[in-house]
Amino acid sequence: MMDSGKIHRRKQASQNFVFTLFTLMSASIVLVLFVILGFIVIRGLPAISWDFLTKMPEDGMTKGGIYPAIIGTFCLMLGSMIFAFPIGIMSGIYVHEYTKDGILKRFMKAMTNNLAGIPSIVFGLFGMSLFVNDLHFGDSILAGSLTLGLLVLPVVIRTTEESLKAIDNSFRVGSYALGATKLQTIRKVVLPMSLPNIITGLILSIGRISGETAPILFTVAAYFLPKLPHSIFDQVMALPYHLYVISTSGTNIVESRKMAYGTALVLVLIVLILNLLANVLRRYFGKKVKMN
């Protein structure tokens, strides 16, 4: 064999080089995140004030606030949660607890995967075609919430499934052994144990709802509408669409820039707070219930 000391040094050197490179590349991703966040926070903070959060937009959306967009996004989040969470959780329970391994389960999982893979703009097309036009909801909170709800449905189902999977089967068997029915077992044993994980996942999915733009473009979002909705059949402004409008196609893009930074910051803050909340919950519950 060759001079082993030399080979060893070469092996070690290439390992050191690659590991350093990989560390730097990973660090650069963290850096990118901080640049994006830092950029939006630093530029956005001066724009944020009490008035900004509670006033109507004025002067072709170059002044005033984003109050109606905040309320609109809040309505859409709530609406799609009401639609997607119960159905998604029930669907997840059915797929994981009731179906046996076989064609039905595989089919349901494949369909959930397919739904998750559909681009958000296609949801927008579908929502417009079915809810807005065929069902005559018009551009409305209802149509937008249903479209957004459909979009997060796969996320909710998967979260539920994953959380249920994490519960060791012995808990179920133990419950059956005591004479509990399937429903009782799920309700009293399985669900309470998996609830923390489900909730954490759901919180993350709310963040996703708040930022989606493509599905609401043609189902609910209003370009400029300085009033609050009165019913679920009203149109609303929404934060992500508002940001898109004032940064690309508003009446005065340069003048609106400050408003755009502020809106971007509000959007990022919503996501940031939800992620933080999910992580805190994960840690809190992680200590409380140890699951395998």
């Binding site: 064999m1 060759m2 082993s4 080979i7 060893h8 070469r10 092996k11 070690q12």
Partner: protein, 257 residues
């Protein structure tokens, strides 16, 4: 016993303690082995015999929060010393695992792997070495026509002999075997045992086994572990016919474990 002092030990452990976090897995083990002998490590599951085996090529490094004290010496060098190159050490100490674990590569490339990662480039040399290793592990006749095929196409027993060939290809001086036949059928097991017997002439072999008969058949010396302690180590014959400790006797006669 006089022999021990005459012949320099090939491998030696002196007062080795090993901790996984708070768990004290090995408690003050001292043991030495001469060149070209087979030492069997026996004991009930979780007694530390595999952990001890893994001290000799520092495989325990892979588990975080592992701490080791005492000396593990190979050829008179402390392998836990800072100056020791761990990949250099592992090149010199072959290892065969409990379950056959060939790489997702061809049969040929599996055996050539150790040479390649250690900087050997000459194709002819590699070919010769692969052939020799496969012959040594008594696999050559079965695979010589399908060296390019995936290693996963072999049977479990063949895969394990392939793993032995893989270990032999880089000419280690010590061979560690961690229950090498436990996942195999009786015929394959017999083949592996035969192989160990033949390899003894060139290698120092440490084998972990929970099969008493196997330990009796293949080893020169046997060491009995219990709860992280080395209870007893002696010539295999002595150990099986006349153990000093009742615990050893109980285990060997099958009263527990």
């Amino acid at each position: 016993m006089v022999k021990d002092y005459v012949k320099k030990p090939k491998v030696m452990a002196k007062d080795v303690n090993l901790y996984y976090g708070d768990f004290h897995a090995l408690k003050g083990i001292t043991l030495s082995m001469e060149e070209n002998t087979v030492v069997a490590l026996i004991g009930p599951s979780g007694c530390g015999k595999s952990t001890f085996l893994r001290c000799f090529n520092r495989m325990n490094d892979l588990i975080p929060s592992t701490r080791i004290t005492g000396y593990v010496m190979v050829d008179g060098k402390d392998i836990n010393d800072r100056s020791m190159n761990v990949d250099e050490l592992r090149k010199n100490i072959g290892m065969v695992f409990q379950k056959p674990n060939p790489f997702p590569k061809s049969i040929f490339e599996n055996v050539a792997y150790g040479l390649r990662v250690n900087g050997v480039k000459e194709a002819k040399f590699i070919e010769e070495r692969v052939e020799r290793s496969l012959k040594q592990s008594a696999l050559w006749e079965e695979v010589k026509d399908k060296l390019k095929k995936s290693a996963f196409e072999l049977s479990g027993g063949q895969q394990q002999r392939l793993c032995i060939a893989r270990a032999l290809a880089i000419e280690p001086s010590v061979l560690l075997m961690d229950e090498p036949a436990s996942a195999l059928d009786p015929i394959s097991t017999a083949k592996i045992e035969e192989l160990i017997y033949e390899l003894k002439n060139q290698y120092t072999i440490i084998i972990v086994t929970h099969n008493m008969q196997q330990a009796g058949r293949v080893s020169d010396k046997t060491a009995f572990f219990y709860m992280g302690e080395l209870i007893e180590c002696d010539d295999t014959k002595t150990m099986f016919t006349n153990p000093k400790h009742t615990r050893t006797q109980n285990y060997i006669t099958g009263r527990f474990g």
